[in-house]
């Protein structure tokens, strides 16, 4: 006879923690995924972040705004996390705030800079290939009476510098550090110089680059920078908002005293600590990882045209001009949805910007802005636990999958 026993508090908490962490750490062995190649969407928790999270759950549960011992201890953890993030990004600690997500950080950066510079102008310039979080913030700015304009990009998805000169009345320029769909690195420093020459601040969405390639605020010249913890091995639910001192910024949301007045509400302290730990660990691994993953993407870019007919590899062929861990390509006459399905059945997880894979059934605005083929699109992104075996799996399956879909669509010999 089974004897039911009510687990004790500690035991129950430990079990919940294990379940939760178990669900988070989806490596090769979980869910039957043999090759998880969507690390640009999100990546498993870094082991160092996992350890820090467990510790911070125990030590950092109290309210960091309170003055008693537990509160002070939480405060010290939060301050240390802020110092760590600031140190890696080349910022000052009081310029860094944690918020609910990378998306929330981008919203706060764009709308806060626009609000802070209302008297200087009402025009927000954003590149045509920004992440939806920046575009949605720009839409919101427009809905509340402001103006926005999109900066065009070239065929590689790189913003055209000649279009980046802000006209009078510009409140903010927002250009991502690197593109999330094709991996093209943007000329942020040059855009910042053009913006500053007109007295306009620059926001850069660095969600794709922080923890992947060196990101230094001084070198970039950005006045505002945003990033997302779960993109580089932190837990979800942490955005990083950096507002350089001297930048005019006004919280577009109701504010309180939390996070230097930039993000209201009790912060997710253990997750912020884990995020800072992940970033610190990634910074130490960066050089080796860039080299290792750069070799995988270089091989994929080289092999694709050999293995698959009528494939267009997207983004900058020059490794210096693109992210080291991401390759996007489009296969002519292939439905992206069908291709994702075929790869998924083979245990390969990738993402796509094709219209048939989007809820709105519209093609990716990035691919459209670049003039790239939008159907048959695949984004492959490698991460910390990716190996040459993952790439080999993809290269084994992809040619047959593409050929089969083309054959079923009657698109052979066209």
């Amino acid at each position: 006879m089974v004897k039911w026993r009510r687990p004790g508090d500690g035991e129950r908490r430990e079990r919940a923690r294990q379940d939760w962490l178990g669900a988070l750490s989806c490596g090769r062995s979980v869910d039957g995924v043999s090759a998880y190649l969507d690390h640009a969407s999100t990546t498993p928790l870094h082991p160092a972040a996992k350890a820090a999270l467990l510790t911070a759950l125990d030590d950092g549960w109290a309210d960091p705004a309170r003055l008693y011992r537990e509160g002070r201890r939480a405060r010290m953890l939060l301050d240390a996390a802020r110092e760590t993030v600031a140190g890696v990004l080349g910022a000052r600690a009081d310029e860094v705030s944690f918020c609910a997500s990378g998306t929330a950080a981008a919203h706060l950066a764009v709308l806060g800079a626009a609000a802070g510079r209302r008297r200087a102008g009402d025009l927000v310039l954003v590149s045509a290939v920004e992440h939806s979080s920046v575009l949605h913030a720009a839409d919101q700015h427009e809905r509340t009476g402001g103006r926005t304009r999109q900066l065009p990009v070239d065929g590689l998805g790189r913003v055209r510098l000649d279009a980046c000169v802000p006209p009078p009345g510009t409140a903010l320029v927002s250009v991502q550090h690197a593109n999330h769909e094709v991996g093209t690195v943007q000329p942020v420093a040059a855009v910042a110089a053009a913006a500053h020459a007109a007295g306009v601040p620059l926001h850069t969405d660095a969600a794709m680059t922080v923890g992947r390639i060196p990101v230094d605020l001084g070198a970039l010249g950005a006045d505002l920078l945003t990033a997302s913890g779960h993109k580089f091995g932190g837990p979800a639910g942490v955005g990083i908002l950096v507002v350089r001192s001297g930048t005019r910024w006004a919280n577009p949301m109701p504010a309180d005293e939390r996070e230097l007045g930039r993000a209201a509400g009790f912060p997710n302290l253990p997750a912020a600590v884990a995020t800072a730990t992940a970033l610190h660990a990634r910074a130490a691994e960066l050089a080796a990882e860039r080299h290792r993953l750069g070799a995988l993407t270089a091989e994929l870019r080289a092999r694709l045209p050999e293995l698959v007919a009528d494939v267009e590899v997207l983004g900058d062929p020059d490794p210096a001009g693109r992210l080291p861990h991401l390759v996007a390509f489009s296969c002519l006459y292939v439905a992206g949805e069908a291709l994702l399905g075929e790869l998924d059945r083979a245990g390969i997880a990738v993402s796509s910007g094709s219209s048939c894979t989007s809820d709105a059934l519209t093609p990716s605005h990035v691919l459209v802005a670049m003039g790239a083929l939008s159907h048959g699109n695949v984004r492959v992104s490698f991460g910390r636990d990716s190996s040459p075996a993952d790439l080999a799996d993809l290269l084994d399956v992809l040619p047959g999958a593409v050929a089969g879909i083309r054959e079923r669509a009657g698109a052979v010999g066209l």
Partner: protein, 101 residues
């Protein structure tokens, strides 16, 4: 929508649609009706039939998938054909393509 659905049943064999043809420009040598067909099918339809017109001839593709505009343009670039004009009409868009090779 029912008219468009009806038309797509024989999308590839349907006769050219007078309503979609330009009131000013010369009539295309061939019209391919891909209304109601989701990408990449309109591009496949276009690729299958462009060989029916001589080099220098024109094909008009009718499509209403939102990905058709970027994809017709990209296909022309990839295949070296020339996208001469794009026009909106009530049921979708018309793309006039010149075969160059």
């Amino acid at each position: 929508m029912s008219a468009a659905t009806e038309r797509t049943r024989d999308a590839v064999t349907d006769p050219p649609m007078s309503e979609a043809q330009s009131p000013d420009g010369p009539a295309p040598d061939l019209t391919v009706d891909s209304l109601g067909r989701r990408c990449p099918l309109p591009i496949i339809d276009l690729a299958k039939r462009i060989g029916e017109v001589p080099v220098g001839g024109t094909v008009e593709l009718l499509a209403d998938d939102p990905a058709a505009a970027p994809d017709v343009s990209a296909w022309c670039r990839l295949r070296g054909h020339e996208l001469l004009a794009t026009r909106d009409f009530p049921a979708g868009q018309a793309f006039l393509v010149r075969r160059t090779g």
